[in-house]
């Protein structure tokens, strides 16, 4: 049965670029951003329009970006620079200000390139690498205050407690809705696929956030109406694949389409372009200090090093999600030169091996030259996972 809210989300996505043009013509300002630990709440609270920038899957953009940054940067970064160089993407064109955070050093360099070569007004939010220390929270709160002061100057609006509280409530609603919608894709004969949920999540990068929350609530209501509470599970011989590793931004469909073609069913992810940013955000108060701490207390991004394996929340969360979504294999997707995740591939494989969970690392980029190589590896992996599932069932 069709999901009306899903269709509406796709429709509203198509209409959004023109809407932004009109909003800007009426005096609104758009903050395009690319970041992992930037609390979007502050942008929205100041009456600015937040739009997450970046796309993947286009080898030509990667080449264009490589002229300005380098071929030793990950394809996502190069693609982002390519977007600014081309300056035809509606979200790039319509960004009045561009914000980045310093979670990933390559993103920081992207900010420098965008500022230097494309004369964009750029704001950067510093992010501590020792994110688990109290002094790091103090530093990050000060960085956030500085970041907000620059946005206040641009918007002409002062961030009040009320404005921030309203925005936090809105974003809490979005996070809550996504977390509740997400399990439906992992059920038997699902009404919505993981790929569709992934699209829904990424629609939230650009749609008006209040409207987006309404759309999410409608989608959730339809899912509840059609299926009741989600019961996670599937066929006995199913290859239920969990995706981990580097970001898979909008437009990067290579791995996803190969998986679909070969009968591997994606049932979960801990991607920063997927579920993970929405999972464990606990904002204790409507203050910048509380917001800063809440963001640092989330499951950390791979670019933030954590030195004790036994207490690493990223690993802990990965294991929990694999269990929750009843995955029986992990594809660890790494983009070439994405050090934050590539450096952790072997470690993650070793850890999951101890849990009896097979992991396949796929090291790739946006060019199509490795399509068949990836297809062959995924095919073998899916077959192996299915055989294991069958033999476990038989046992």
């Amino acid at each position: 049965m069709a999901l009306n809210a899903l269709e509406l989300i796709y429709k509203r996505l198509r209409e959004r670029p023109q809407e932004l043009v009109e909003a800007r013509a009426n005096g609104a300002k758009v903050v395009g951003f690319q970041a992992y630990n930037l609390p979007e709440e502050v942008i929205y609270a100041l009456g600015l329009i937040p739009v997450r920038l970046g796309s993947g899957g286009d080898g030509d953009l990667v080449e264009v970006g490589g002229r300005y940054i380098s071929t030793k940067n990950c394809v996502y970064v190069r693609s982002t620079v390519g977007l600014f160089a081309e300056n035809t993407d509606p979200y790039i064109v319509n960004s009045d200000i561009v914000a980045f955070d310093a979670t990933c050093l390559q993103t920081f360099r992207t900010a420098e390139v965008v500022q230097y070569y494309f004369n964009r007004e750029v704001i950067i939010l510093g992010v501590p690498r020792n994110f688990y220390l109290q002094e790091a929270h103090t530093y990050f709160a000060a960085e956030l205050r500085h970041f907000v002061s620059r946005l206040e100057a641009i918007s002409g609006v002062t961030l009040t407690r009320e404005r921030l509280a309203d925005s936090i409530a809105l974003y809490n609603g979005i996070r809550d809705a996504i977390v509740r919608i997400y399990p439906y894709q992992a059920t038997k004969n699902p009404a919505i696929s993981w790929e569709q949920v992934f699209d829904v999540i990424q629609a939230g990068y650009v749609l008006d956030r209040r409207e987006y929350l309404g759309l999410l609530e409608s989608l959730l209501a339809e899912l509840v109406q059609q299926r009741g509470a989600p019961v996670i599970g599937g066929e006995d011989d199913e290859a239920r694949i969990f995706i981990s590793g580097s970001t898979i931004p909008p437009g990067d469909k290579k791995l996803i389409s190969i998986m679909q073609e070969l009968g591997g069913r994606i049932v979960g992810d801990d991607l920063w372009s997927g579920l993970i940013p929405y999972v464990d955000v606990q904002i204790e108060d409507a203050t910048l200090e509380a917001l800063a701490s809440a963001y640092l207390n989330r499951t950390p991004h791979g670019a933030l090093p954590y030195l004790e394996l036994a207490t690493d929340r990223r690993i802990k969360r990965l294991k929990e999600l694999i269990t929750t979504f009843k995955a029986n294999g992990v594809i660890y997707h790494t983009l070439r030169y994405c050090d934050p995740y590539t450096f952790k591939a072997k470690e993650t494989k070793d850890i999951l091996e101890k849990e009896g969970i097979p992991l396949l690392e796929l090291h790739t980029e946006y060019a199509g030259s490795d399509f068949e190589a990836i297809r062959t590896r995924v095919e073998a992996f899916v077959e192996m996972v299915k055989l294991r599932a069958e033999s476990e069932e038989a046992a």
Partner: protein, 463 residues
């Protein structure tokens, strides 16, 4: 392949008398090493233990320069060759060894009573544990070891940062690098140790804030807190308490080294024809970082001697051995890459300066007030770590001071952050100096060395 003795360097007896009349090296533990002892080591014990160091192959960029009138260079060689002996003695006295990375100064490590070693020095220490190897044998062992790091971490590690040595049991007690914009591998390389065989090494990251960090009080305070955490962590190894006075004293010592290096650079650059070759220049300039010998006190005594010697050479017009009077002067930007200076000179050029490991040396730390705050502020002010235009402005100043004719930006394969900055930096330098520039990529496995030298030769020819 065994060592071919005919290709090994020998210090000539003709310089012995003058060398013996020179100054002692003073070590950090107060020991004095007399020139006679150094001479005996360099001419008898050294060649037997480490024949590869005496190899004179054209392809060996770290070979002894042969400019034997530079007495300080002999002493620096002695210190590098005795690295294992001296560190082993210090460790026997309870001095911990802490791995450092990120390009920052080592003042706080020594203030806390540790030996701070960067990746290159860690490698030297590890290699000094094996004796009697020819250059080929030594080289092959190094390559084999490095593969361990690539296998354990990632093939995209540009610099294994001593991972293989530490995980193989090199007696490093703590790994405590600085995160920085300079290198993205630092944080992940540190993190990789948590999954290694060795679990007895303490891990700590000194978190370097980014984006106009020197202008933000909260960033300086945060970084100072990180430095305090560093000295406290070393204290847990030593059982002592590092005081602010300890750090102040260390800063003064390191400031003297930094000032001497800058003074030497100004002298060197002022000479119409360089007073040393490129390799000897790099060795003295980098000594100002006070890290290369695993003993800042020893480095200081060598630097003092070097300053006097370079001043004398400049005054009397003595040229560096093998340096052409009309050599094209090349300034190098970027990280972790040093071409074979001898081959640059054979091609008609000479390397006159680097930005890497120089911006930290040119930054003098304020000596009055809270030493943690002062050190934090200084480190956050390193020009190399500043926004592109500021870094380029400082680099252009150094290029002008060095009277360079051309600029190369070199980076290693897999280096995400220097490669990302390369084009911006050279475009800005070109705009500010009008000099020709070239960006070249190299790799740690040396598979591109010849390509790099071909390109450098062509660049020099163009100049």
């Amino acid at each position: 392949m065994g060592t071919n003795e005919s290709h090994l360097f020998r210090y000539p007896e003709a310089i012995k008398e003058e060398f013996l009349a020179g100054a002692d090296i003073v070590l950090r533990d107060g020991t004095r090493v007399a020139p006679a002892e150094i001479w005996a080591y360099l001419t008898e014990e050294g060649p037997a233990k480490y024949p590869h160091i005496y190899d004179q192959s054209n392809y060996f960029g770290r070979r002894i320069s042969g400019d034997v009138g530079l007495s300080y260079a002999l002493k620096a060689n002695y210190l590098l060759m005795t690295m294992n002996d001296r560190i082993s003695r210090a460790k026997a006295r309870g001095v911990p060894v802490v791995f450092v990375q990120g390009g920052q100064s080592v003042d706080p490590y020594y203030a806390a009573g540790a030996i701070g070693l960067r990746p290159a020095s860690t490698g030297i220490w590890a290699r000094r544990k094996e004796t009697g190897l020819s250059r080929n044998e030594e080289d092959l062992r190094g390559q084999k070891r490095r593969q361990k790091a690539y296998n354990e971490i990632s093939i995209e590690v540009c610099n294994s940062a001593g991972y293989e040595h530490i995980q193989d049991g090199l007696a490093v007690d703590m790994i405590a690098p600085f995160s920085c914009l300079r290198c993205s591998d630092v944080s992940y390389g540190l993190e990789a140790h948590r999954h290694g065989q060795r679990q007895d090494v303490k891990l700590l990251l000194i978190d370097y804030p980014l984006d106009h960090q020197r202008d933000k009080e909260w960033a300086i305070t945060y970084f100072a807190d990180n430095l305090r955490r560093l000295t406290r962590s070393i204290d847990e190894l030593t059982g002592r308490t590092t005081t602010a006075d300890d750090l102040s004293a260390e800063i003064k010592l390191h400031n003297e080294g930094r000032r001497l290096a800058v003074e030497i650079a100004d002298l060197w650059w002022s000479a119409p024809v360089p007073p040393t070759n490129g390799k000897d220049r790099r060795d003295i300039f980098q000594m100002g970082g006070m890290e290369v010998h695993a003993d800042p006190t020893a480095s200081l005594s060598v630097l003092r001697e070097a300053r006097d010697l370079i001043a004398k050479r400049v005054e009397t017009g003595v040229h560096g051995l093998g340096v052409a009077t009309d050599a094209s002067r090349i300034f190098i930007c970027g990280s972790c890459v040093s071409p074979n200076e001898y081959r640059v000179e054979q091609a008609g050029g000479i390397i006159v300066g680097n930005d890497n490991h120089w911006s930290d040396i040119t930054t003098i730390v304020e000596e009055t007030g809270d030493p943690y705050y002062n050190l934090a502020k200084a480190i956050l002010s390193y020009p190399y770590e500043q926004p592109i235009k500021e870094r380029a402005r400082w680099t252009a100043e150094q290029i002008k001071k060095s009277r360079a004719d051309g600029v190369l930006f070199l980076y290693k394969w897999g280096c995400n952050t220097q490669s990302a900055a390369a084009r911006m930096i050279v475009d800005e330098i070109k705009a500010q100096t009008g000099l020709p520039t070239l960006i070249i990529e190299d790799d740690m496995q040396r598979s591109q060395t010849e390509q790099m030298h071909n390109r450098i030769s062509a660049f020099i020819e163009m100049l």
